[in-house]
């Protein structure tokens, strides 16, 4: 049943009730997230040549060193959280990883001193905060209805989880900012410093795919 979605399961790493599993699907996601984290760590931020208001010459916008440090750190946290979210086979743990990614995403842009970027990230922060309610609410309701949170056990329990799945998807939509809630996030991407911004995009896209997998499994 489960192998018809994720491919072959190669092995697991148990941390108590929380089990990290290595399947074809999760290995690819994990490796991609890690490789991107390394590349983001190595890459220097790009410089933008911006036209000036009321002047002829252009200005080279450079990301300052201390801003770079905090943003790089947040990008790495985001990458590690994404890699973890790919592996975990526990619903509540996955929701926590999702929230960690959301917080780190705000962190990546919060150091940019441009007011429209900060405004957009504030709006995104509001959405992320609202989204934790359906996310954890869904995990809690699934626990109450089935008595377990493990993604290996949930498919074996014959219970209709339609409403829980819908609110889990809604929580994920808010946390990762897919359409039609993309507007605030897209505005964040205008900030300079490409490698870190890339991490926001990567994490949310990988998490969407992973959520689809989870919702199909349980």
């Amino acid at each position: 049943m489960i192998s018809s979605i994720i491919g072959q399961l190669f092995g697991i790493v148990p941390f108590g009730d929380i089990v990290f599993g290595f399947s074809e699907f999760s290995i690819i996601g994990f490796v991609v997230a890690l490789i991107f984290t390394i590349v983001v760590y190595l890459t220097k931020p790009e410089k933008q040549l911006e036209a000036q208001k009321f002047r002829v010459e252009d200005k080279l916008e450079v990301v300052s060193l201390e801003e770079l440090k905090i943003r790089r750190m947040m990008a790495i946290v985001c990458g590690i959280a994404t890699a973890g979210a790919m592996l975990t086979y526990d619903l509540f743990d996955y929701a926590l990883f999702l929230t960690l990614v959301g917080i780190a995403n705000i962190g990546i842009v919060s150091a940019v001193k441009k007011d429209w970027v900060l405004n957009a990230s504030y709006q995104y922060g509001l959405i992320a905060m609202i989204a934790t309610l359906p996310l954890f609410g869904s995990a809690g309701m699934i626990l109450a209805k089935t008595g377990t949170l493990s993604l290996f056990e949930l498919p074996k329990i014959p219970t209709s989880l339609l409403f829980e799945k819908i609110i889990f998807a809604a929580g994920m939509a808010g946390e990762t900012g897919i359409a039609p809630f993309y507007a605030s996030k897209a505005e964040m991407f205008r900030a300079p410093g490409s490698p870190y911004i890339l991490m926001i995009h990567l994490s949310s896209l990988l998490l969407i795919v992973r959520t689809v997998e989870i919702l199909l499994t349980i």
Partner: protein, 153 residues
């Protein structure tokens, strides 16, 4: 078609998005009120009856019994085969926490209990990863706030 274009343009403003999202969530929850909900009696993480431990044990409502490293506490685990030492360390308290425990009946619900390792998940022992993640979420948000505070000019 023109009206549709206007609606689409309205949706693309950042400050509108939280409003729409919360309306969307509210609609879903209203839909949820119509669905049947019930509790599965066979729970993986059973809770004691409310107030059954209050004023009887200082660790209320999180007392699971057991003596550290000697008698295992009463716990259920999803995968018992991975945890031979299940429940052995759940009753562990630091010396400071022990001292406070002797003074009050409300220790289990105080913030002081956190360093002693009496958070629900640690009591359960089986969900250690969650505790790490929860505290790292707090830590990250604190880092962001403090960076913005020190570089606010």
């Amino acid at each position: 078609m023109k009206k549709l274009g206007k609606i689409w343009n309205y949706l693309s403003k950042p400050e509108v998005v939280p409003r729409i999202f919360s309306i969307f969530i509210a609609l879903i929850f209203v839909f949820g009120l119509l669905m049947p909900h019930y509790l599965n009696p066979d729970q993986l993480y059973p809770k004691p009856v409310p107030h059954s431990q209050t004023l009887k044990t200082p660790l209320a409502p999180y007392d699971r019994g057991g003596v550290p490293l000697k008698v295992p506490a009463k716990l259920k685990s999803q995968y018992p085969q991975y945890e031979p030492d299940l429940g052995m360390i759940t009753a562990y308290l630091t010396p400071v926490a022990n001292w406070i425990k002797d003074k009050t009946y409300y220790f289990g619900t105080t913030i002081v209990s956190t360093p002693g390792g009496i958070l629900d998940e640690i009591l359960y022992y089986t969900r250690g990863m969650d505790t790490v993640l929860e505290s790292s979420i707090l830590l990250i948000s604190f880092i962001i706030f403090s960076w913005m505070f020190f570089n606010k000019d």
